[in-house]
Symmetry: C2
Subunit: 331 residues, 2 copies
């Protein structure tokens, strides 16, 4: 990160912001057109894994704009990755853009208005600049920031998290938390399938305290939006508390993680690392690991516990209530 | 309904639209204020049943504006109902306003931006005018209509459903459908609890065809927004296919049902009525019944099946895959 000054990062941020804005216009026009005509889609994995011409068109727009300016940067985009033969984790140490042209394709097909353009930029494998939808963005840097730009790039923006001094986590969290998670695309039915375990995890988090053999978490609510990007962003902005997701990809979460880190949130693996002791510090999630548990930023609590102590305590409470998910990256 | 001409209904619609707009401004200011300060809430039923000062303030604003214009109409609002002793179903035959000042209170507390102001108007116990959020509205009448007014009351509006000739339902529905449902506030843990059954219903709908003992529905996605009002509205507008909810109230769905009916959708009970034969016509949901299954409007399909035939077939497919829920109205 030493090679990039705050002004260089700002330039990257502004490029991403403007590209996302152009892509958003493209998507918006596509949605308006579709109010009149049906949509052509083709399937990727199964009947719920869809790609539309818009995905591919938006990715090309973003890729061309970025590589024109930064021809030596690496670029990982969902659609070109999916179309390629190489399925291993591709992130290298150098400057790398990680882009999901349209997160929430199923939503877009149904015209349900939760979709995101997600443009992330990594240094040393850590998300450092993120722009989602042109609304939410961040530069991870001591002189950086995170913003909600509801009125477009030229209007005033609100610093994130939205509550400028974010409250401590609830004292008996996960009770009282807003929890985001998705059923996902793996729909196989057997007792140890990811779908079966995800559903059990959600019920555990929702059930009254003491229920489900002690796993009841009594969260305020379970939200499933059909966009892992937006799940992450809402936690990053403090509009949610917990994001728990497995089976998604680095382009789904890279930009959101840049925002999360800058707002004081943490992201770890949705499963505990093997051999982690009860008091060991919890390492950050592997960006290519496909399993993420994010906790929002917060202030020191009344008992003097730091944000990090509260967040790690909540991570362990979520781990206790959730079963290990087994999504594997194709090799 | 014979007593109300289309111009009278239009007048009611415009009043509701303007009141909702004022209430929305009030809510928006509240949300902006809360970016700086924490929120005072008190609990209604348990730790997830919250009421804020904003709910009560918004309801009073709406009630006063409506009763000033129509002092002889009945008015049912969530907050005044909840505060009262009388818990029976209150809807009479006469002109009745049914209002939820803020649907999605848990979301509002967390600043998660899915909330709705819902203003419905019933004649003969059937939702006839509905306004949600100032964006979505309808007049149920042959000369009426339904609209999405994204640019405010003075801008152009888009007729609903959003796709002006809504496509037929998927031929093997529920496969391919977007399904909306909520975990709700009843969090008790036992094998026959509503939470346990709701979770099983969601997994059934999500699982591959043939899974879960034949109950797998392979829907495109399960969405939980934390607002039954918005769940209903997205199905009414054709931005979703199926809304399945139990444990909510008439003010959560009244305005949305007015929009749904005008766009050609249907709403029935989420449980099959006792004694209904396989080919009997399916009656409309009881507005006060607290259990709703809504299907979006659609066109005749390639096999010549009418919208109603497709919708009733899908209702029976959903009933096969879902367990009976037992929410009771307090008496």
């Amino acid at each position: 990160m030493s090679d990039f000054s705050i002004s260089e990062l700002q330039k990257l941020h502004d490029l991403a912001f403007n590209v996302a804005r152009i892509a958003r216009t493209y998507m918006r026009e596509d949605q308006l057109r579709r109010r009149k005509v049906a949509l052509a889609t083709r399937k990727k994995l199964n009947s719920v894994d869809l790609v539309t011409a818009a995905d591919e068109g938006v990715e090309k727009t973003i890729r061309d704009s970025i590589l024109k300016e930064y021809p030596n940067h690496a670029f990982i985009g969902e659609e070109s990755y999916s179309a390629g033969e190489e399925k291993r984790f591709l992130l290298k140490e150098g400057p790398t853009w990680i882009v999901d042209p349209i997160d929430g394709t199923v939503n877009m097909v149904h015209m349900f208005p939760v979709t995101a353009i997600s443009i992330g930029f990594c240094l040393d494998s850590i998300p450092t600049v993120g722009v989602v939808c042109t609304l939410y963005s961040a530069i991870r840097h001591p002189q950086g920031g995170a913003w909600l730009s509801e009125l477009g790039p030229d209007g005033p923006s609100t610093p994130l998290p939205l509550v400028s001094t974010p409250p401590p986590l609830p004292i008996d969290a996960p009770k009282g938390c807003l929890f985001f998670g998705e059923y996902g695309k793996d729909r196989r039915d057997h007792p140890q399938s990811n779908l079966t375990k995800k559903a059990a995890n959600f019920v555990n988090m929702a059930t009254e305290i003491g229920g489900r053999g002690g796993k009841g978490g009594m969260v305020h609510g379970i939200r499933s939006l059909g966009s892992s990007t937006m799940d992450m962003v809402y936690v990053a902005s403090g509009q949610g508390d917990i994001m728990f997701e497995a089976g998604c990809w680095e382009w789904d979460v890279c930009a959101g993680i840049a925002i999360l880190l800058q707002t004081g949130g943490i992201v770890v693996g949705s499963n505990p690392p093997a051999g982690l002791g009860d008091t060991d510090p919890i390492p950050m999630a592997n960006l290519g690991g496909g399993r993420y548990l994010a906790i929002r930023g917060c202030s020191e609590d009344a008992g003097g516990r730091s944000a990090r102590v509260q967040q790690e305590a909540l991570v362990r409470e979520v781990w206790k209530r959730t079963e290990r998910l087994d999504y594997q990256r194709p090799v």
